[in-house]
């Protein structure tokens, strides 16, 4: 099953469960407070997912490691390499 198919299945399952519960199609009499929460659950989850995404990406950008040492080391190795290669007969 492709990832797209998995997502569609998952959404269909959750969606139909939610629809069944909120429209009372299964004949279940849930207390009013439960049904109110259920009704706004998809919107709530969507907003939460958006916040989670922004927060996660923001955190990862902020903690993205800057390799200053690697850049410095590379610079000095470039000098060393050029000198060594010139000694061995490289014409740049």
């Amino acid at each position: 099953m492709t990832k797209l198919a998995q997502w569609l299945w998952g959404l269909a399952l959750l969606g139909s469960t939610w629809a069944a519960l909120t429209t009372g199609a299964l004949g279940l009499e849930l207390p009013l407070s439960c049904r109110e929460v259920l009704w706004s659950l998809p919107a709530y989850l969507l907003v939460s997912a958006g916040c989670y995404a922004l927060g996660t990406v923001g955190y990862r950008v902020a903690t993205f490691h800057d390799c200053e040492d690697a850049a410095r080391e590379l610079q000095s190795q470039i000098q060393e390499a050029r000198a060594d290669l010139a000694r061995r007969g490289m014409r740049f």
Partner: protein, 260 residues
């Protein structure tokens, strides 16, 4: 090879590589180049240094696509300096793309492991011994360098570039759940037969090609290990990441999402 000569009656042709025991692991580094006259000597020097210090057996295969800037001349000088058993020149007439460069390189590789990396000094050969150790440790089919985990990281990226990179990676993780943290990275160690199998199956280009390799590898139940690497970007100033690239990345991502 010493063992072939000792038997005396070997019927193997001299060009055919002998099957390798773990003690005889050999690592072929593929370096596709286009206009890398400045960087090629430096990357080769760093590779030679890294392999000599760690003692692993290696060869470097330079696949130049008819660079007009004299890259080939530089490659020939390197072959003279380091020997044609270590530096293999396998050029092509024109710029033909990365996938075919890998195919071409693998055909000529005598190692049982292949290392792919960028030739522009953004990938540092000092990580290769770590890749090799990781591969042996977990008997991995693929070891991928990651900029996003451990003390992996980047130098030379501004805020915008970092946001795009992390954002794209986040979406990729959510949609593809690939089991590897850095999908667009191209610093990897593959078992030779694994790379051959994967190239056959992959159809995308550019960033998406690297992503597709890992996704297909997981489909085929290959194991992927990761090693944090540092990526030193010296060419970002030449705007490698325009709107076009982003659009084609998203198109490729959605294609992988819908077809794998």
């Amino acid at each position: 090879m010493a063992s072939g000569e000792a038997s005396g009656l070997s019927t193997r042709s001299p060009r055919e590589p002998e099957p390798r025991t773990p003690r005889q692991d050999k690592y072929s580094v593929l370096l596709p180049t286009y206009n890398e006259r400045e960087n090629l000597p430096l990357i080769v020097w760093l590779l030679v240094k890294s392999f000599s210090e760690s003692g692993f057996n290696y060869e470097i295969i330079i696949i130049d696509d008819g660079s007009p800037d004299g890259t080939r001349d530089v490659a020939e000088q390197l072959e003279k300096i380091y020997g044609s058993d270590k530096i293999l020149l396998r050029p092509r007439e024109q710029k033909l793309g990365l996938g075919t460069a890998y195919i071409h390189g693998v055909k000529h590789a005598t190692g049982n492991h292949i290392i792919i990396m960028d030739a522009d000094l953004s990938h540092h050969p000092k990580f290769i011994p770590e890749f090799i150790r990781k591969q042996k440790e977990g008997n991995f089919d693929i070891v991928s360098g990651t900029r996003y985990k451990g003390n992996g990281g980047v130098y030379g990226w501004d805020l915008k570039r970092k946001i795009i990179s992390r954002g794209a990676n986040f979406i990729t993780q959510i949609l593809l759940r690939p089991g590897a943290s850095d999908l667009t990275g191209s610093f990897r160690l593959y078992r030779k037969e694994v790379l051959q199998k994967l190239i056959e199956k992959c159809v995308s280009k550019g960033y998406v090609f690297q992503m597709e390799m890992i996704v297909r590898a997981r489909q085929l139940n290959y194991t992927v290990g990761e090693v944090p690497i540092s990526f030193v970007d010296r060419v970002y100033g030449e705007s490698k990441l325009g709107g076009n690239e982003i659009v084609s990345f998203l198109k490729g991502l959605l294609t992988l999402f819908a077809t794998t």
